[in-house]
């Protein structure tokens, strides 16, 4: 694989540059808009030169937004906190429930295992709208309406199937012999799961966890329908800048930047897991 010609390397470089430009240009543009007000954002034709302002970030962080129709109170930081809390706990619960289940499906071909696995996946088919209305009714009866617990439960619809099926694939890719070797060495199934299966599938779990986190983070319809304003995530919060007196593009951009930041930090922190694949180099040759 090392015998790449110069031409090929150039072509690869060009292709990668195009990819980066396509995916990063809008992000860069949003980033620049986050330092502008509508006055400079809405110019014809659009221009690169502007006088940067921190007003958008100030407004978001202090919770005061000055618009054409006066100063508005905004709860953006509260929304951001809700997003962090909901996503983190939902993914944590999903991992807690989904990883053992994924392990069971990968390692133990038991009666009905495929059916159960498919059923768990099929929750992903249900359009959120389909379950939401009846769910609101049931949640009210159960006292789960407008509670974080209820929301975290519903968020399992997003996180659990994803974690279950991706992690399952990783577990299946670990040669069974490695686990057998550990058990024969005198360790219980749980020790084997903890000391062998979990570390080896670690990158897969991290990747699935991050993806689940992103999807949980981006969701807004669940919280919107099931909870009151103080529990809304950042996705709903950012919509507050679409006001009747105009769309505050600068603030939305800043909101996007702020809302990407925690996820991005998480991804950068976990990057070596995310892009590593299984850490099985030695085993699989």
């Amino acid at each position: 694989m090392e015998h790449t010609s110069l031409l090929e390397r150039i072509l690869r470089g060009v292709a990668l540059t195009l990819v980066v430009v396509f995916f990063m240009f809008p992000i860069a543009w949003i980033f620049m808009m986050s330092f502008q007000t509508n006055e400079t954002i809405l110019r014809i034709p659009p221009q690169l030169i502007f006088e940067p302002t921190l007003a958008n970030y100030t407004a978001l962080i202090t919770g005061k937004l000055v618009t054409a129709a006066g100063t508005l109170d905004i709860a953006f930081m509260r929304n951001l906190w809700n997003s962090v809390f909901l996503s983190v706990t939902s993914v944590a619960v999903s991992l807690l429930l989904g990883v053992p289940a994924a392990y069971a499906f990968a390692r133990h071909k038991f009666r009905g295992s495929e059916d159960i696995a498919f059923t768990l996946l099929s929750f992903k088919f249900a359009p959120a709208l389909l379950v939401l209305l009846p769910l609101t009714l049931y949640f009210q009866k159960l006292g789960l309406a407008n509670t974080y617990i209820g929301l975290i439960w519903v968020y399992q619809l997003i996180c659990l199937p994803l974690i279950l099926w991706i992690v399952r694939g990783y577990f299946e890719d670990i040669p069974a012999d490695i686990e057998y070797a550990y058990r024969i060495g005198g360790h219980s199934w749980f020790a084997t799961f903890r000391k062998i299966a979990l570390p080896l599938a670690g990158p897969g779990i991290a990747a699935a966890g991050l993806l689940a986190f992103i999807f949980a983070w981006n969701n807004f319809v669940f919280a919107l329908v099931l909870a009151s304003a103080d529990k809304q995530p950042v996705t709903v919060g950012a919509l507050a800048f679409i006001t009747s007196s105009g769309i505050q593009y600068g603030q939305i951009s800043a909101a996007i930047v702020l809302s990407i930041t925690p996820t991005l930090a998480l991804a950068l922190y976990a990057q070596r897991y995310l892009v590593e694949g299984l850490s099985l180099g030695a085993v699989k040759g």
Binding site: Y180, A181, I184, G185, G186, V283
Partner: protein, 372 residues
Amino acid sequence: MASLELRNVVKRYKSQTVLDNLSLTVADGETLVLFGPSGAGKTVLLRLVAGVIDPDEGKILIGGDDMTDVDAEFRGIGMAFQNFALFPHMTAFDNIATPLEAKRSSQSVIKAGVESVAKLLKIAHVLSHKPRALSNGQKQRTALARALVGSPPLLLLDDPLRNVDAKLRFEMRLELPRLLADRGATVVYVTQDYKEAMALGDRIAVMSQGVIRQLGTPEQIYREPANIEIARLFGDPTINLLDVKPARDTRGIYVGLSNVQVHLAGAYETAVGRDCVIGLRPEALSFVEEGAPGAIPVTVEAETPLNEKIVTLVRTVRGREVLVSRPAGTPGRSEGKAHISVDGKSALLFDHASGERIGSKNVVILRNGEAA
């Protein structure tokens, strides 16, 4: 005590029967080699014994105790895998230490145990490496060390030399018997290499298609293979197999080979007049001068040295190809016309239709799980 006994074990995968009503006993301290082609069920058998898969029927006893429903970790077994199955996220030291950790040994005991077995296997200098930094030979020794370190009374070795290079395999083949004997453990050793089987086994069980075809000492398997298949698997170069129809004359039972009557020593009465296959080990054939008794005229086609032997491919007048082997340095012919003679006493006779050897004596044939 760690004898091993399998009683009428059946294992199926979907509709396929992988082990068919198999019974087997391995005595305490004995090394049993499971030999057979891939897909014979050797590895499955090993895993059943180890307890990582469960039999559909039958019982597994270790040291006389029924272990059929006992989890792997309680069976007191050491196992080395063909693909080594090292834990890629642990150093060689930690890999080897895992069975000791399971016993909750103290750190000093673990350290001493690992280092002593590592020294024995000559991997003490790579203990701090992770598997990906080890050579194949070192991986193999690490895997072996891990199986040995806890001094398990029962050792299962699943073709541990398969994935290492020829030189190492040769070395290990010399080292292993001593190593295993020193441990005093009961060993079940799986291999596809007949030389390994011959070198290591107190007894060899030849398996194919989920059944033990023959169980015996290496000598027995070689001299008195139960069928054509086994005869062909043991021996290098492979045995010559020629279609014959034995007949009787005053001197006894003979077969005709290129118009030469070769008389056989053995109880082959039942074979007379039947379609048979004669098995002639290449070393049972030798070059003779023209006119010697029983000399068969042949044409030499090719000659190759093989280890300390020289193997000659010759063609009989009927056009059948035969391999002749002689120790290196002994006289022979490398081209042109020649004559060979057959040692009738060491010839093997098989039924053409069934492939079974005819006139078995001293041979233990196992079929359908019944020990003879």
